[in-house]
């Protein structure tokens, strides 16, 4: 009897183990990415439409509160819901054009003083009329909201003058040729003064955008309904539910079951949706650039020979293949720059893997077998760091990965107190060349603690140079100097994938991740 019991238990355990280890139809090996990511763009609208009334959209981060003036409320999904709820002064299209939105005209002679003529007849969701006073209110609140994205865009305003209900002059603290871009991002959406006065906790629930707030459940979902009085093109769908789901498996099941109309796909699941007749697959390459930052203040990583050794030791394609399952784009230039960021110097040659040269440089460096920490904080950067660790160990660098959470990463890599050797991170880049300022001047995004007065001077000069050719020369020069100093090595640009139900489209995917779903639709299938 005992033998029978033992056998039964063994069988049960074996079945359990097999069930736990089996991956079903999920591929575990690196797939050959047949559907290569395309650049960001729009999806065409169908011709004879019969649409679903509701679209359920997965959002990749919790939204604790909707208030762009609250520094604690910053969510990576702010750009997505802001496109639906609010409008900006100027609209920035995915192909890089500025088109009128709440401002019908704008001008500046010196990039310090800007004049905006505003659209008449625009109503907020609460029935109030949009005027220049709301722009003034938004600027005032943003300037006092340190730590918010609003502050980053509008904190540079020195003063303003409300000329009339539909005209405002804005003066900046210093010249900025990119100010129109700043006011075109969803992080500079125009709020309503009256609503904030009446209801401070929910003032930001009211905007002028194509959708109105219906229900908000903190950290869970935002339900929006179409704004019938919208001044611009009317939205196609009647109701939008944006929902955060923490568990990846649950999210994918919800997409499979039709509970999500659009949902982000982790790269490992992309092959399941490629050529799947029941789903649409959208993709784009982010402007963000993943990097290896060497702490220039530390003796070993501050040594150029050591940095050259690392540059020759790494195989970027292997990092993409393993960390992103092949769904990423290796940087196409030696410059540390955004994928489609303006003024990218593509003449700078990317250093390819050469293990002999890596060992040669390592020999010449001050490195003597010390432990080198690779600090990483996000899922994909941790995976990248693990691949990098193996590659560095292959040439004799005693590398180890240190995983940290967001606040810890921010604290230990802050510009003034950075005590890490190498940071494996992901850097935010916008379409503007000026976004290099974050990485090449003293700031907390400058994880390499790179400090070259010549570069800082050139960056300031570029910000005040309106002429395109002249700016290009300056940015090229900046990239050449940084390339030579090598505080950073760009590795890859992430490709992101969105799975959607058959017939769902109309979303505009921005490489900055601030996607615009205001004209999204879900076509009914026969």
């Amino acid at each position: 009897m005992k033998k029978i019991v033992c056998m039964v238990l063994c069988v049960v355990l074996c079945v359990g183990l097999l069930a736990a280890c089996s991956g079903g139809t999920t591929p575990t090996s690196t797939p050959a990415p047949s559907a290569k990511p395309t650049e960001a763009g729009t999806t065409p609208a169908p011709q004879e439409p019969q649409y679903h009334d509701q679209i359920n959209l997965y959002i990749a981060d919790k939204v604790a509160i909707i208030d762009p003036f609250n520094p604690g409320a910053q969510s990576s999904q702010q750009g997505i819901y802001s496109h639906l709820l609010y409008d900006t002064l100027v609209h920035y299209t995915v192909d890089g054009k500025y088109v009128p939105c709440l401002a019908t005209e704008w001008s500046s002679d010196d990039n310090v003083n800007y004049n905006f003529k505003l659209r008449e007849g625009v109503k907020y969701h609460n029935g109030e009329t949009f005027t220049a006073d709301d722009v003034a209110f938004t600027i005032d609140r943003a300037k006092a909201a340190q730590g918010t994205s609003m502050f980053d865009r509008l904190g540079q305003v020195d003063s303003y003058e409300v000329v009339s209900d539909y005209e405002i002059n804005i003066t900046l603290k210093s010249p900025n040729v990119d100010f129109i871009f700043d006011v075109s991002t969803p992080y500079a959406s125009i709020m309503n003064r009256d609503e904030y006065d009446k209801n401070p906790d929910q003032g930001a629930w009211v905007g002028t955008g194509p959708f109105k707030m219906d229900n908000f459940v903190p950290n869970d979902s935002i339900t929006l309904v179409a704004n019938a009085d919208y001044w611009g093109e009317k939205p196609i769908t009647k109701k939008f539910v944006l929902r955060y789901i923490a568990e990846e498996t649950a999210r994918l099941i919800m997409l499979e079951n039709g509970e999500f109309t659009f949902a982000d796909l982790p790269s490992i699941y992309v092959p399941q949706y490629e050529n799947n007749p029941n789903f649409e697959l959208y993709s784009y390459v982010m402007d963000n650039c993943n990097y290896i930052a060497f702490n220039m203040k530390r003796p070993i990583t501050g040594d150029k020979n050591f940095r050259m050794a690392v540059a020759y030791a790494i195989d970027r394609q292997a990092i993409v293949d393993i960390a992103l399952d092949g769904y990423g784009k290796v940087v196409d230039s030696g410059a540390f720059w955004g994928n489609n960021t303006a003024y990218k110097n593509r003449n700078l040659k990317l250093i390819e893997q050469d293990l002999d040269k890596a060992k040669e440089y390592l020999e010449k460096s001050v490195y003597n077998g010390e432990k080198i920490e690779l600090v990483a904080g996000m899922a994909h950067t941790i995976k990248s760091a693990e691949v990098l660790m193996a590659q560095l160990r292959a040439v004799g660098i005693n590398a180890e990965v240190r995983k940290v959470d967001g606040p810890t990463m921010a604290a230990i890599t802050a510009y003034d107190s950075n005590d890490c050797d190498i940071i494996v991170g992901s850097g935010v880049w916008t379409p503007l060349g000026s976004s290099c300022k974050s990485y090449f001047t003293p700031s907390n995004s400058n994880k390499a603690c790179y400090d070259n007065p010549e570069v800082i001077e050139l960056i300031d000069k570029a910000a005040a140079t309106p002429d395109g050719e002249e700016r290009q020369k300056i940015y090229y020069q900046i990239q050449e100097i940084v390339y030579d100093d090598m505080p950073y090595l760009g590795t890859f640009h992430m490709a992101l994938y969105i799975g959607a139900q058959k017939g769902a489209g109309g979303a505009v995917y921005y490489p900055t991740n601030n996607h615009d779903y205001s004209m999204a639709y879900w076509l009914k299938q026969d």
């Binding site: 604690g72 340190q146 649950a250 959470d405 967001g406």
Partner: protein
């Protein structure tokens, strides 16, 4: 009895003071402040100081803690440093979800575990005992999240019987309750089995059987009646733990409970929210343990008489 309850509730105060200080201290010790992820490249040093001052981070730990306790003594649990929403309001919205999940899981767990435990004890040493013990061991050793995911994949994706995330319908309760209840069942089954086995060797059972008391009555009245104390302790502790929220189950099923709220607060360094959640959870835990103690007295005449003797001694003194 009343005096005993009053003392137990009074003891809650030093417990809560200790717990709240430990949370404050630990979050302060952890690298990074709540403002670290808010600081952007456009901010000057003055802007950073203004931002830190908004969160009282320019003040020493003891001052921040003193301010928190002062507000707490006035019944104010404070506002989340992330969302600026009232901690009490947030907790109040989420707690009913956790409560329902805990109660349903407990009902499922107890309903299965007590008969299973008695069955195993009655068949101790046989194959039936081994099978029951093996299932209980499986429940104890199987990680919660793994069972949760397996249930999701099978019942939600393949059979499409239940939703993958909370959607407000009764169906969305089924999978989290089963995942949570299974672990409870395993633990209570083992406790029931061993308690019954302990009691079954007592002389009074032999006497009862010798007197001709039917076996069913011996089992349910005499054996189970005397085995209740450790089982109730186990049930009480399980309930206390799940009322604090099961962060893993809540994350797997997108359940809007308090467990995930606490985890999220700690990861964002939201000291006020984390502290509020811990204080409320600790209060509930203590109250549940007090209720468990009172239930002992209600079901066990020996404990009841001990209370009575103490009371009599006090009166005589």
């Amino acid at each position: 009895m009343l005096r005993y309850c009053a003392i137990r509730i009074a003891l809650l105060i030093p417990i809560l003071l200790c717990v709240s200080f430990i949370i404050f201290w630990l979050i302060d010790l952890a690298p990074g402040e709540i403002t670290d992820t808010m600081i952007t490249d456009q901010m000057t040093e003055e802007d950073i100081q203004i931002l830190r001052a908004k969160y009282d981070l320019d003040k020493p730990l003891i001052v921040r803690y003193g301010k928190y306790i002062w507000n707490l003594l006035h019944g104010d649990l404070g506002r989340s440093q992330v969302s600026n929403l009232s901690v009490w309001e947030q907790y109040k919205i989420r707690f009913p979800f956790t409560l329902r999940l805990s109660i349903y899981s407990l009902i499922l767990g107890v309903a299965l575990a007590i008969p299973a435990g008695i069955f195993a004890a009655k068949h101790a040493g046989t194959i039936w005992d081994n099978i029951t013990t093996a299932i209980a061991m499986l429940g104890l050793s199987m990680p919660n999240f793994w069972l949760g995911l397996m249930l999701l994949i099978y019942f939600s994706m393949k059979l499409k019987m239940f939703p993958a995330a909370y959607d407000g319908t009764w169906k969305s309760y089924v999978l989290p309750v089963v995942a949570n209840g299974f672990a409870m069942m395993a633990s209570i089954t083992r406790q029931t089995r061993s308690s019954i086995l302990d009691v079954s060797r007592q002389d009074f059972l032999r006497t009862a059987r010798a007197k001709g008391v039917p076996e069913r009555r011996v089992t349910y009245k005499h054996e189970l009646g005397n085995a209740w104390i450790p089982i109730i302790t186990q049930i009480g502790m399980m309930l206390g733990m799940t009322l604090g929220g099961s962060a893993v189950i809540e994350a797997v099923y997108s359940w809007p409970g308090v467990g995930y709220l606490l985890v999220e607060a700690i990861s964002r360094r939201d000291t006020i929210m984390a502290c509020g959640c811990v204080i409320l959870t600790a209060t509930m835990y203590t109250i549940i343990l007090l209720i468990v103690d009172l239930v002992y007295a209600a079901i066990d005449p020996r404990i009841r008489s001990a209370y009575a003797r103490k009371k009599k001694r006090r009166v005589e003194a």
